[in-house]
């Protein structure tokens, strides 16, 4: 079936209807979460008690809004901190890997490439516990040998960053490598022919060409880190990132405060996604 192949009206209508139903299915949970952020009630459910901004700006119990709820604000800060580090690390290593696999031929390259893909097929929770086990053993070993307590190796933000980085690096590598693959190397040769050194050629020609991919990889890494749950759950210490903080609250029962946070999350990530698309278009 393509538009050029005649179909009966019924088939066309049924198919279109199915696609519409699919998008309703996709949108429904998000719309519901967003709408109940404005419900003037203690519970994010019917009946509708009227419209309110209190879950965003409220200052008095029991309706303290997001912008006055310290633990949530702290958690957002923690998440941002983690996400910034993860994206810098992941994009840096991803760029290096992309050049390595694109420009060099060395023994064992194929195996290394396959190995690099493994983090994508390892369940996040397993990544989390393996890093937890390993770092704790190293920390215990250091204590036994030298009575040296390395706090950073205990569950906490460093481990969260490393844990998220361990699989996000694969994704940023793939994003950047895909664009580098399309790069016409004769452009670099032309630059060298016109007097640039190899490094200058890469800096002035290749990196600008990669810019859309670098920005794309940064945004994807940032969002994946911000939203990550499984790996983070196993490595988190006392500073909980937002997803963990929300999870803890959700277990205790939900108030529309969580809807409000969720709505802000949706808006934030949509903005980031739009920025990325804008840059991709330009590239």
């Amino acid at each position: 079936m393509t538009p050029s192949i005649p179909q009966s009206r019924f088939v066309t209508l049924a198919y279109t209807g199915y696609v519409i139903a699919f998008f309703v299915f996709l949108a429904l949970p998000l719309v519901v979460v967003a709408v109940f952020a404005f419900n003037d009630s203690q519970f994010p459910s019917l009946p509708w008690e009227g419209f309110t901004w209190n879950w965003f700006f409220g200052t008095e119990r029991p309706m303290i809004g997001v912008f006055h709820e310290r633990p949530i604000l702290r958690a957002i800060g923690t998440s941002t901190f983690v996400a910034v580090f993860v994206s810098i690390l992941a994009v840096g290593v991803g760029l290096s890997n992309a050049f390595l696999f694109n420009r060099y031929r060395f023994p064992g390259q194929g195996i290394l490439y396959i190995f690099m893909l493994f983090p994508l097929v390892i369940p996040g929770i397993v990544l989390g516990i393996s890093i937890l086990v390993f770092s704790s053993r190293v920390a215990n070993g250091l204590w036994d040998v030298a009575e040296w307590d390395v706090e950073a190796l205990r569950p906490g933000l460093l481990l969260v960053i490393l844990g998220q980085f361990s699989f996000i690096a694969t994704i940023s590598t793939l994003v950047i490598a895909a664009r580098l693959q399309k790069f016409d190397r004769s452009l670099e040769e032309a630059a060298m022919n016109l007097g640039a050194s190899r490094i200058t050629a890469v800096r002035t020609i290749t990196l600008p060409y990669l810019a859309p991919a670098l920005i794309g990889a940064t945004v994807v890494a940032f969002l994946m880190s911000f939203e990550n749950f499984n790996t983070t759950l196993m490595l988190v210490g006392s500073d909980a990132p937002l997803t963990i903080a929300m999870f803890d609250r959700l277990k205790e029962g939900s108030t529309p405060l969580l809807n409000a946070v969720s709505l802000l999350l949706m808006l934030g990530s949509s903005c980031l996604a739009l920025v990325m698309i804008a840059f991709q278009r330009r590239g």
Partner: protein, 285 residues
Amino acid sequence: MRAEAKLGLILLLTPLLLWLSLLILIPHVDMFLVSLRERVGVNEYRISLANYLTFINEPLYLRTFVRTAVMSTIATIITLLIAFPVSYYIAKIARGRVQSALFLLCLVPFWVSELVRTFGWMILLRETGLISNLLQYTGLADGPVEMLYNDAAIMVGLVYTSMLFMVVPLVTTLESLPDEVVEAGYDLGGSWFSILREIIIPHAAPGIVSGSIVVFMLSLGNYLTPTMLGGKDSLWFTELIYSQFIVRFNWELGAAFGFLLLGLSSAIVWGMLKLTGQTLEKTMG
């Protein structure tokens, strides 16, 4: 020049090797070693298969393991069946702006945390939720209906959460099928069913495989959806791992569970690749 190339190679190789060895290879080997330890006293361990024997001998563990695998498989199949027609519509029927808009719409829900998505389904499905209210309003139900905390709710959550990872590879492979080829099949006398079976599905096979692998993996390793949407007796294997590590502090057994989960997902991924003659580089890279 040779020396310069060699230096460049070493500089680029270092971060890759550090990452893969310190964060992936060694921790997993270490986890495997821990799973082989049996505690015999305070800080006294010996190497044994005790943890794996516990897994086999405890019906709850084994049952949860099998249940997780079976439900993940079902979730993968349902996701594929729902996603395929939609992906085909986006790739081949929609044109121009509509096409890119629909594709973007598919991505939007997944820019949002899984937690938010799960939360949305909780609001919809619970006893006081929207669907229950709707059913009462339309007279299809007499009282509140609890649709949360059962396997069907888990399935809805898993399918929803995984949808993107099926749609994207499917749209990509289907888009690369020239209209001409479908038309040629039709021109040579094919019916839509025979074209689907002989041309479209074989062409989309790489997308189907990579989508299914990712969806299966994500379902298997999911923690949030089964915890929030599932009931008391719909236990997921990841919940067992979590409780061994965080609640019971039995890392040895937890590591064994982790290793089993990794083994299962690797085996299924490998099996699917072998079965369809694909490679990991092609499907993931």
